[in-house]
C-alpha cells in the first residue's frame, strides 16, 4: 500500500518536473525573452550586433556565464545571508566573466579584440544578476541551470537575429569573419549575398540597431496577437 502511494507520488512529481522544464523553456525563449520582452542587457545587444560573428560570440559568452552563475548561486543559496546576497552574487558573476574573458583572450584573440569592452561588461548585464536574484536564489540547482540555459539561448537568439539582419543590410554578407570565432575550417560559412560599393551604413550604426530591434519587438508582438485570436 505504502509503496503504491510512493510510486504514484513519484510519477506525479516526474510529470510536474517535465512541466516545469517546459514552462522554463517557454519563458526563456519566448514569453519572457530577456532581449525582446524584458529588454534587459540592451547595451551589449545593440552595440555588438553589427555582424553575425560578433553577435554569436557575445551570445555564447553570455550563455555560458548565465548558466554557470545560475547553478553556482543556486548551490550556495541556503548559505548566504539575505543582507549580503547581492555582493556575493556579483563576485561570483565577476569571477565567471573573468574566466570567459581570459579564455577568449587566449583562444579567439581577434574576436576578443572586436568585442572589446563588451566582454568585461557582461558583469553588468542585468539579465545575469536579474536571473540570479529572481530565480536562482530561490530554486534548485537543476532548475536554475536550465533556466540560465534557456534565458541565455533566448538572448543569443535575439542577438543572432539582430546581427544577421544588420550584417545583411550593411555589408550584404553573413558570417563574415566567422573564422575568428570557430577557427579556419569555418571560413566556408561566410556567405556573400550581394556586392555593393555603397553599403547602407545606417544598419551598421547604432540608430540602425535601435530601428531593427524595434521591428523585431513589433514582429514578436504581432505574432502574439495573432496567436491570441
Amino acid at each position: 500500500m505504502n509503496q503504491q502511494v510512493e510510486e504514484i507520488e513519484s510519477q506525479q512529481t516526474a510529470e510536474a518536473e517535465q512541466g516545469i522544464y517546459k514552462e522554463l523553456m517557454y519563458q526563456g525563449l519566448w514569453k519572457n525573452n530577456p532581449g525582446i520582452v524584458q529588454l534587459l542587457g540592451l547595451c551589449p545587444l545593440l552595440a555588438v550586433s553589427n555582424t553575425l560573428t560578433n553577435a554569436l560570440g557575445l551570445g555564447l559568452a553570455t550563455l555560458f556565464v548565465l548558466t554557470a552563475s545560475n547553478s553556482l548561486i543556486s548551490l550556495i543559496r541556503n548559505h548566504v545571508p539575505k543582507t549580503i546576497r547581492i555582493p556575493v552574487f556579483v563576485m561570483i558573476i565577476a569571477s565567471l566573466v573573468s574566466c570567459i574573458q581570459l579564455l577568449m583572450n587566449a583562444f579567439i584573440y581577434e574576436l576578443y579584440l572586436s568585442l572589446g569592452i563588451f566582454i568585461p561588461l557582461i558583469v553588468t548585464n542585468c539579465i545575469i544578476i536579474g536571473r540570479a536574484e529572481a530565480f536562482a536564489s530561490k530554486n534548485t540547482v537543476k532548475h536554475a541551470a536550465f533556466d540560465g540555459l534557456m534565458m541565455g539561448l533566448g538572448f543569443s537568439a535575439v542577438l543572432v537575429l539582430l546581427g544577421a539582419s544588420r550584417e545583411i543590410l550593411a555589408q550584404g554578407t553573413l558570417f563574415d569573419g566567422i573564422e575568428t570565432l570557430l577557427g579556419d575550417w569555418a571560413q566556408f560559412l561566410t556567405v556573400t549575398l550581394y556586392h555593393t560599393d555603397t553599403s547602407f551604413l545606417l544598419a551598421a550604426l547604432p540608430p540602425g540597431a535601435f530601428i531593427i530591434m524595434g521591428l523585431i519587438i513589433a514582429l514578436k508582438n504581432s505574432i502574439d496577437q495573432k496567436a491570441e485570436k
Binding site: 555603397t198 547602407f200 551604413l201 545606417l202 550604426l205 540608430p207 530601428i211
Partner: protein, 350 residues
C-alpha cells in the same frame, strides 16, 4: 434658444489640411524653379520619383494599419514630405537614394509614430540625416552649376545618370563634379569648411579659384527663391512669423558673435543666411506645425535654439550643412519648450 457668446474674431477662415499643404507646395515653386534652372532637370526627376514613392509608401502603410487610404493621401502631407526630401538631395544622385529616403520618412518617421500629427521628428529632415550618414559620398556630390559645366548635360544624360549613375558618355557623377581645372566643385559651405580645415582663412577662401568655381551664387539665388515663397506663406498667414524671424535673427546674431570674434576663421552672417538650406529651413521645415513648438514664446525659443545649433555645427562641426541635424535636435526639445512656455490663463495666477 441658446445665444452663442464667443469672443472675437467673429469672422474667420477655416482651412483644411489639404488646402494648407497645397499652398505650401505652391510656395516651394520659386525655389524649386531656380534650383532646376541652375542645377538641371535632374532636380525635377528627383521630385517626380519622390512624390510617387511618398504616396505609394503612405498608401501601403495605411492599408497595413487598416486606415482610410484615400482621405490621408488627399491631405498632401506625404507629397510635401517627398518634395522636401527631393529638394534637399543633390540633383544627380542615383534614384535609390531618394527612394530609400522617402520611404524611410513616410514609413518610419511618420506612420510608425501614428501618422499625420503624431510624429516627433520632421520626416523630411530625419530622412535627410539617414541618407547623409548612410551614403555620404552620393549625398555630397553636388554637381556644378550648368553654366560652369565642363560637359554639357542633355536631358538624356541626366536621366541616365539618375537611373544608372553614369551619363550617356560614361562619366560618373563624381567625375562630373570636377571642373576643367581639376578642382572639385563642392557647395560653398563645403568649400569653406575644407579651406578652414586645411589652414586657409576665410578671405583667402573667398578669393580662391575653388570658391569661385563652386555653386555659391546659384545657391544664393535658390535661397532667395525659397525666401520669396516663404514670404508668400507669411502673407497668406499659412505660417506665423515667430519661428522664421527668430531663426533668422538668431542665425545672424550668433554667427555675428563668432564672426566678430575672429572674421578669418568664421564665415560671415550674410554667408550663413544665403547658403545651404537656410531659407528652406526657416520657412518650410522649421514651421512644420506638427514638430515645432506651439506656444508663441516657445516658437521664439525654438527658432533661436535651432539657429544656435546651426551656427555651432556649421562653424565647428564636421558636417557641411547643419539645418537637418539642428531641426532634429530642436524637435527633441519641443515638449520641454512647450511645457515651460504655457501662456498664463487670463485671470489665473502666474
Amino acid at each position: 434658444m441658446a445665444f452663442m457668446n464667443s469672443s472675437s474674431p467673429h469672422q474667420r477662415q477655416r482651412r483644411t489640411t489639404s488646402q494648407i499643404m497645397v499652398m505650401v507646395i505652391l510656395c516651394l515653386i520659386p525655389g524649386v524653379f531656380l534650383q532646376s534652372y541652375f542645377f538641371g532637370i535632374g532636380n525635377l526627376l528627383q521630385i517626380t520619383l519622390a512624390s510617387v514613392v511618398a504616396l505609394g509608401s503612405e498608401a501601403l502603410i495605411l492599408k497595413l494599419r487598416k486606415r482610410p487610404v484615400l482621405r490621408s493621401l488627399k491631405d498632401g502631407s506625404a507629397l510635401l514630405t517627398g518634395l522636401l526630401i527631393a529638394v534637399s538631395i543633390p540633383p544627380l544622385s542615383p534614384w535609390w537614394i531618394v527612394v530609400i529616403g522617402t520611404a524611410f520618412a513616410v514609413i518610419f518617421v511618420k506612420q510608425l509614430y501614428g501618422g499625420l500629427g503624431q510624429n516627433l521628428f520632421n520626416p523630411a529632415m530625419a530622412a535627410y540625416v539617414v541618407l547623409l550618414i548612410s551614403f555620404p559620398v552620393q549625398m555630397t556630390s553636388w554637381i556644378p552649376v550648368q553654366s560652369l559645366h565642363p560637359f554639357s548635360l542633355t536631358f538624356m544624360d541626366q536621366l541616365s545618370a539618375f537611373l544608372s549613375g553614369f551619363t550617356l558618355d560614361g562619366y560618373t557623377v563624381a567625375q562630373l563634379s570636377v571642373s576643367i581645372d581639376g578642382l572639385t566643385m563642392a557647395t560653398p559651405l563645403d568649400t569653406a569648411r575644407n579651406a578652414l580645415h586645411s589652414g586657409f582663412t576665410i578671405t583667402e577662401m573667398l578669393n580662391s579659384a575653388e570658391f569661385k568655381a563652386s555653386s555659391a551664387q546659384a545657391i544664393q539665388w535658390v535661397n532667395v527663391g525659397f525666401l520669396f515663397g516663404g514670404l508668400i506663406l507669411l502673407y497668406k498667414r499659412i505660417i506665423q512669423w515667430y519661428i522664421p524671424a527668430a531663426f533668422l535673427a538668431g542665425l545672424v546674431s550668433f554667427s555675428f558673435i563668432a564672426f566678430a570674434y575672429n572674421p578669418d576663421l568664421n564665415i560671415s552672417p550674410l554667408f550663413h543666411i544665403f547658403s545651404g538650406a537656410t531659407m528652406l529651413g526657416a520657412f518650410f521645415i522649421l514651421t512644420d506645425p506638427v514638430t515645432a513648438a506651439t506656444t508663441v514664446k516657445g516658437r521664439i525659443f525654438y527658432g533661436l535654439l535651432v539657429a544656435l545649433i546651426v551656427v555651432i555645427i556649421r562653424n565647428i562641426g564636421g558636417y557641411p550643412d547643419a539645418v537637418a541635424f539642428a531641426v532634429l535636435l530642436g524637435n527633441m526639445c519641443v515638449p520641454l519648450i512647450d511645457y515651460y512656455t504655457q501662456p498664463k490663463v487670463y485671470g489665473g495666477r502666474a
